[in-house]
Assembly symmetry: C2
């Protein structure tokens, strides 16, 4: 049953109790029915007792749990392992998981892992490590089922039964020629529904999608999601099959990329650690640079305000609407930029759509602006002038504020939608062009518009 | 090859050319090797010629393309179908896809679809439609492979071969008892690696995760992602197996939920249509309510400023730092709230972590605040006073601004991290407590802090 979240605290208590009373057989019985990912979550609360709990698990389950642990706990475990234990765990791991672990470990632990891996595996690990971070090559596994076009379905099943246990997935099989060129793809379903003497070359799918080792991992994951595949073959520059990316890894990539976009859009430098695992210093380091940059760039708004100091002094009520104007401008810009950034990352909008986007945002912003201006006019007359008895809120002042609103929303939406598209075109990540950055620009623009209207309408 | 994005425009041109020259056989040859999802993208550019292109495709591929089309184009097609054509397409569709389509169609089209579906399928459609939107029941399919515990592996394969072609997936099979209670789960891999005369009850996995029909679709998708499953069984209140949710649908749910969070965090009412498919009026309707609400709530900041008008008049330079202070406050709050909202939605942070989160944000905000204040002090002295020759920027004014910075960042981060957690605890979506909402609160707080410091330090 999927009730783990509710039972977590209770389970942890039970485990700690059994540990303190050294009731290991009972503890083992408690752990075995659990999913590996859940045991890993529980381990996070056990600190230095993790190796003890780990040794209670059957070999295969232990390896599954090991993969799910945080790198800190993995390191702790590896350091506590004897060489035989380390080898046992490594033998159970899938290649792509081993690579993930190796990437996170300090050099001396990596050395020890590589020393105790099979020579064959060691070679594969070193090869995958060579691919750039965030490339399809770096998230693929080399453990897939390959078939020959000349095999019969019966031969194929024999091969799957023989090599299957070590493969990451057998749900999709890949057909290669003598030079390891990928020539076809075949699902286990097709195999099962075929006759025993059918020839693979006749029943395989020859129209297939593949990615290149250097393709971006996000593109790869998006392709898996778009085409509803369980795995995607990865080929090198000569179209030779070198690995596959499976759907579970693609899901992780999509979640990571979404988190990264959230962080960038909130002016945080992205990190790949969970919130509570990041130290105060790391969090500070990720947040300060953008805050600093945005704070200093607000100097421009300061200069604009100083420049119009006399206008402000002669009509002091104008000052009190500045936070509302800059807030509304910022929010309008954020709406447009967020909509466009997400559409770009989902592949719904491309550079060629720029004019359509601008034309749409122009109409939306005019409608929003007029609507806000009308509401604000009513509010200023009813609340500020009539209810709060503020005689300096004249209809002319309201006109200045409302005209500024329309202008600000217009600017904010046009800047908000065009900057991310421009960033993508120039090869930057559009998410960086997100709300805080745009708010700063819109702030300055809205002040300029405000003072222009104030000077021409109020004649100050 | 995965080069579709680059070839899209070229392909579309070729298709239009072939259509205008009525070279249908050639066009068919061009389309057949393409993936269904890609053909659907191309169809979006063909408008009223979609039915013509659609009829060129082989039956099975046509159905796959149909599923991938937007609901507008699906409706256009259904209206152009003869009853026989409609029945042919419906027969090829998987049940969950049919349900998705039915959910989007106007009543008269739904009636026609249901009339031409098999009575068996019609019953299933009506049942799934009964589940609330966003529940596991609403995204599941009832087309799965079920086995009995007493079957041998050989029996199981016979059953899979017989019923498999109509099932959404055969990669995972479900073992039920006489009352349809779910008692075990079995992957096709286990079946393939077992002996022919092994009994299903002996080799099936009895520790499995299942979800309830009324569980949230996001929880379901997160579980699939967390446990790396290809499908998750869905049971009713009496633990009877009623359907499965497959990984491709889970991926779509995760992407949709992320988009929804992005929208909510940017103060947009969520919609499930792609950006360019949403009309100007719909976009306006989704954006105006929050803008209006946030604009009106900025009245409070206005009132605060009017209240301290005298203080501002006696030291006009203070006004020019307001945009910078409110910007920095907003950005700091956004950083904390975004980090927490994402951590909550990934299940990394729970309500029980509130104190840990507050303690962490307290330390981070003090470090950020002091750092920003120091930089700002240097900037005010060097740039504003010395470089721009502004004599009113005295060290005392700088002290007021910098103390306010520390206080604002502190408030912003504490408000930013606690409101989303509180919202989640109260059963609201934490994403609504995002940047724009928090900026408005922080704006008011930062002004109050600013004027307090100004009055006590400058004695105005």
């Amino acid at each position: 049953m999927f009730e783990f979240e509710n039972e977590r605290a209770e389970l942890l208590e039970k485990i700690e109790d059994l540990l303190s009373r050294k009731r290991y057989a009972e503890l083992r019985g408690l752990l075995i029915p659990l999913e590996a990912a859940d045991i890993a979550v529980l381990c996070a609360g056990l600190d230095e007792r993790v190796p003890l709990v780990f040794r209670l698990l059957p070999k295969e389950q232990a390896a599954e749990v090991f993969v799910e642990l945080d790198s800190d706990e993995q390191e702790l475990l590896i350091r506590s392992f004897s060489n035989t234990e380390l080898k046992e765990v490594l033998d159970e791991l899938y290649l792509d998981d081993t690579v993930d672990i190796v990437e996170e470990m300090p050099a001396n632990v990596v050395k020890r892992i590589l020393k105790h891996s099979d020579p064959e595996i060691r070679k594969s690990i070193n090869e995958i490590l060579k691919y750039p971070e965030d490339s399809a090559g770096s998230i693929m596994t080399t453990e897939f089922v390959d078939l020959k076009a000349t095999m019969t379905v019966e031969d194929a099943f024999k091969r799957i039964r023989r090599t299957g246990p070590d493969k990451e997935t057998i749900n999709v099989c890949y057909v290669i020629d003598a030079n390891r060129h990928l020539i076809g793809v075949l699902s286990i379903r097709t195999l099962l529904l075929a006759e025993e003497d059918d020839v693979i070359g006749d029943i395989m799918e020859q129209n297939f999608i593949s990615v290149h080792t250097l393709d971006d991992q996000e593109t790869t994951a998006n392709a898996l999601s778009k085409y509803d595949f369980l795995a995607l073959p990865v080929v090198d520059t000569e179209n030779r099959l070198v690995g596959i990316v499976t759907v579970d890894d693609a899901m992780d990539v999509l979640q990571e990329e979404a988190t990264e976009d959230f962080e960038k859009m909130a002016a945080i430098l992205p990190s790949d650690k969970p919130y509570l695992k990041t130290s105060v210093f790391e969090t500070w380091k990720a947040r300060t640079p953008w805050l600093l940059l945005l704070m200093l760039s607000a100097t421009f708004t300061g200069i604009i305000m100083t420049h119009f100091e006399n206008a402000l002094m002669s009509c002091a009520i104008l000052t009190s609407f500045i936070p509302m104007l800059s807030g509304t401008g910022g929010n309008s810009g954020t709406q447009a930029s967020t909509a466009i950034i997400r559409a770009l990352s989902l592949g719904e909008v491309h550079f060629s759509d720029t004019l359509r986007v601008l034309w749409k945002e122009l109409r939306v912003s005019l409608m929003c602006g007029v609507c806000l201006a009308a509401a604000n006019f009513v509010k200023m007359m009813l609340v500020d002038r009539w209810l709060l008895h503020n005689p300096s809120v004249t209809p002319m002042v309201a006109l200045v504020v409302c005209s500024t609103l329309v202008g600000t929303v217009l600017c904010a939406k046009l800047v908000g939608c065009s900057l991310p598209i421009l960033a993508e075109k120039l090869g930057f990540d559009p998410a960086v062009m997100a709300s805080p950055f745009i708010s700063t620009i819109v702030d300055a623009l809205s002040l300029l518009i405000y003072f222009r209207f104030a000077i021409s309408i109020l004649g100050i």
